[in-house]
Structures are given as C-alpha cells and as structure tokens.
C-alpha cells in the first residue's frame, strides 16, 4: 500500500514535532535520544539549553562527526561518531544510569514497535530468533521523567502500531507520556489516550481506522504541521 506520508517525510515530521515540545521550556532540559527517528530530533532543536545525554557516558552530545572530526572513542549509544558541545562531560555507565534511574533526565525519546492504550511500550525485541539485545530501553523508560515515543503510525505492511494491548514483549508498563507519529500527536492523561493533533492528510475517521487503540479526541483538536 502507498503510505499517506512517505517514510522520509514521516521521519522528519515526527522529529521536528518532538523537538518543538522542548522549545517552550523555560528551564534547561536534559534529554536522551534513542536510535532511529529519535536521533533526528537533535537536528531540529534550536534552544541552547537543551543538553543531550547518551547512556554510554556523555552529557552534551553535539552533532554527528564527519570527516576529520571522527574519533572512534567518541560515540553515542547508537555507536555513531559524535562531537562534544561546550560544557560537555564524561562519566562511567553507572553514573550515566544513575542520572536516568534517579529521575534527573527530563525526557527520553524512543522508537517503538507497539504502544498500547494503557501506555505500555514494546520496543526491545521482535522474537524472531535473530535479535538478542535490550540496551538501555528498560532503564530509560522507567527512569526518565517523560517518555516520548516517536514512531511511524503503522508497520511497513500497514498494521497499527498504536494497539489495544501489546502483543510483543513489553519494555515498560504504563510509562508512555506522548506518542508522535506522522499522522498525529497523542498524549496520555490520567491513563487515557488523547488525540491532540492530527495531520492534514487524514480525517479523524481515517486515523481511527489506522489506530487499534481507543483514543479520545481533545476538545480543540489541532492540525499538525505537515
């Protein structure tokens, strides 16, 4: 099937919209970005007092390193070579997860295979016998103050990723705060999933057809920037 929004456009839209969430903060923020779409969020952050933490032991991750700036001992948690920002610091993995588990990280932005209507997140494994890894996902989801999920609205074959109940192994329970897809922005409030913004390409009916999870439409539903 032809997607309503191309994959490339979807990724950019999701990353840009998540970056916007941080733009309004009136205090400094420390955020952790997962691999995939979440990494792209950094490209759209304009605020100087948003600091990116990577769980392999750096606070103050700068843009990806290219050419001569590549230092294979300076990487992010996705093993990509990165640069450091002024005021950057390094620490061991226990201190890094101390920041995360201790609630010092304001937000974690992660991808997901599925998020269900109770805010449960499945993002660490598709049990196909090929994957064997958990990373920092379980620690991040339970530890960060805000859990933001950036993912495409459906799977490659068109199945909803916002589901009634996760069928894949769960990473953390009732931890999702915000879900941003190319078709909408959903927030969990008092355990309920609320649609706050909708993409210009879809109607509420069309979006409902692509969403298995039950959701409530926010009064004053806004159109998401394309």
């Amino acid at each position: 099937m032809v997607p309503l929004v191309s994959e490339e456009e979807a990724k950019v839209r999701i990353a840009r919209r998540i970056a916007e969430e941080f733009a309004g903060a009136d205090h400094e923020l420390v955020i952790n970005l997962g691999v995939g779409i979440p990494t792209l969020v950094a490209n759209y952050i304009q605020k100087a007092d948003v600091f990116i933490q990577a769980e392999n032991g750096i606070l103050g991750v700068g843009p990806l390193a290219v050419g001569e700036r590549i230092d294979r001992q300076l990487i992010n948690a996705g093993r990509q070579p990165v640069t450091e920002t002024p005021g950057c610091s390094y620490f061991d993995s226990a201190a890094s997860f101390g920041m995360i588990r201790g609630g010092h990280v304001d937000a974690t932005v992660i991808g997901a295979f599925q998020v269900d209507q109770d805010g449960n997140i499945a993002n660490w494994i598709i049990p196909n016998g090929k994957q064997l890894g958990v990373g920092g996902a379980m620690d991040l989801i339970t530890g960060a103050r805000q859990v933001i999920i950036g993912m495409q609205h459906t799977t490659r074959d068109g199945k909803p990723k916002l589901v009634k109940r996760c069928t894949l192994p769960v990473t953390g329970f009732a931890e999702a705060d915000l879900v941003v897809t190319e078709l909408g922005l959903f927030a969990f409030e008092d355990g309920k999933l609320i649609l706050r913004e909708i993409a210009p390409e879809v109607t509420v009916e069309a979006l409902t057809a692509l969403t298995e999870a039950a959701f409530i439409i926010a009064p004053g539903l806004k159109t998401m920037a394309a």
Partner: protein, 219 residues
C-alpha cells in the same frame, strides 16, 4: 618501582587467565575496549569462558573474535544485535546468554565492586527479563531485586596511567571500565600512555590504583 611495578607484557598478563574463567571486558561497541588484551586472549585459545561485557563487538572484530574461535561458553551482557553471530550461536545452543538491562548491568558491576550483594531497580519489573526475579513494592512501585555481578578477571582500557596504576580515561571510552576495575578478583588494565608517579593531577584520577593489579602498554 621494583616489586611495586605493575607493568607486564601482554603475554604475561594473558597467561594469568584460566580456562573456564568469568571475564569482564570494558567497552561499548568498539569504543574503550582493551584491543591488545582481547587480541591476545583470542590468540591464546583459552576457552570455556564466560564473557561479561556490554556487547560483543562486531562479527570477527574485537570480542567477536572469541566467539568465532569457539572460546565462549556463556555471555552476560546487554546488547548483541551489533554482532548477529551471537544470536545464531545462541539459537544453535552453542552458548548461554543472559541479557541484563544496561543500567542494571552497570549497577550490578558497580555493586560487586563496592560490597553490595544486591539492589532493587524498577527496570524490567513485569517484563520477560524480570521473570523469576524477586520483587518488592516501595512507595507503590514494583522493583526487581538484582544480584551483583562478579568476575575472576577484568580486562579494561584506560588512556593514561601512572606507575602505581592510577587511571584516567578518554571521552566515551570510559563507559564500564572504571566499574569493572572494582568488580573483579584480578584487574588487568591496558593503557595508551604511562607517566611517572606524581605526574597525574590527583583530582583527575578516575580509578585509584587500589583497583588495578596488572597493567600492559598498548603497542
């Protein structure tokens, strides 16, 4: 430095590793792992090893070599998707794999080094990785009891050392190295550079020499 000198050749250091040992190896991906020690361990052919590390490098690269050589009995770690040979070996029943969430992994190693037998964390509660683990509710939230992770030997990487074994690290090459230095019965550090005692700023020392038994120079 006489008998206080901790420097050995890589061959002398690796000769201390017995088959069947539990070995911690520092590093995250290919950053901050002791390349020379890992190469020598692979060349030694010492087998039946349990490797405790964040990941297993890439196929045939770094720690990946130990798997290719059939030296590994079991893995305790966090993320093996960068080395698909791990998943294959596991599904063929050739090796055991214990997956631990990364933060729990780091803290369990730290705990071992600082005399704490177990601790509670919310990570993995109710999930497949928390299965069978004791839980306790504190302030309405469920936590999983995690045991400290010990090892016979830690192979770690530092950028600079003085002759006593005080260590300084480099950028994200630090990762698990300072934790593993504390957690093993025998800690062997590979260092890029060594300097005389007294020339490191004491405020800059990350791993005090008490945690380091043997050092080798990166060649």
């Amino acid at each position: 430095m006489g008998d206080r000198d901790k420097f050995r050749t890589v061959a002398e250091a690796i000769a201390l590793i017995q088959p069947g040992s539990r070995i911690m190896v520092g590093g995250f991906g290919l950053a901050g792992y002791p390349e020379g020690l890992v190469e020598a361990l692979a060349a030694s052919g010492v087998g039946d090893l349990t490797i405790i590390s964040n990941d297993l490098g890439s196929p045939g690269v770094g720690l990946g070599k130990l798997l290719t050589n059939g030296q590994i009995r079991a893995l305790v770690g966090n993320y093996y998707n960068w080395n698909p040979e791990v998943g294959l070996a596991y599904s063929r029943g050739e090796i055991g794999v214990t997956l631990v969430p990364q933060g729990t992994f780091a803290e369990a190693i730290r705990a071992a080094g600082v005399g704490i037998p177990a601790f509670y964390t919310a990570a993995s509660a109710g999930t497949q990785l928390g299965k069978g683990k004791e839980t306790k509710i504190f302030d309405g939230r469920t936590y999983v009891l995690e045991r400290a992770i010990h090892a016979d030997v830690a192979l770690i990487k530092a950028s600079r050392a003085d002759d006593l074994g005080n260590l300084v690290y480099y950028k994200t090459a630090r990762n698990f190295n300072p934790l593993m230095a504390m957690a093993a019965a025998l800690t062997i550090a590979e260092v890029d550079e060594s300097v005389p005692v007294g020339s490191l700023d004491p405020e800059s020392v990350v791993t005090p020499h008490i945690f380091v038994d043997i050092m080798v120079r990166r060649v």
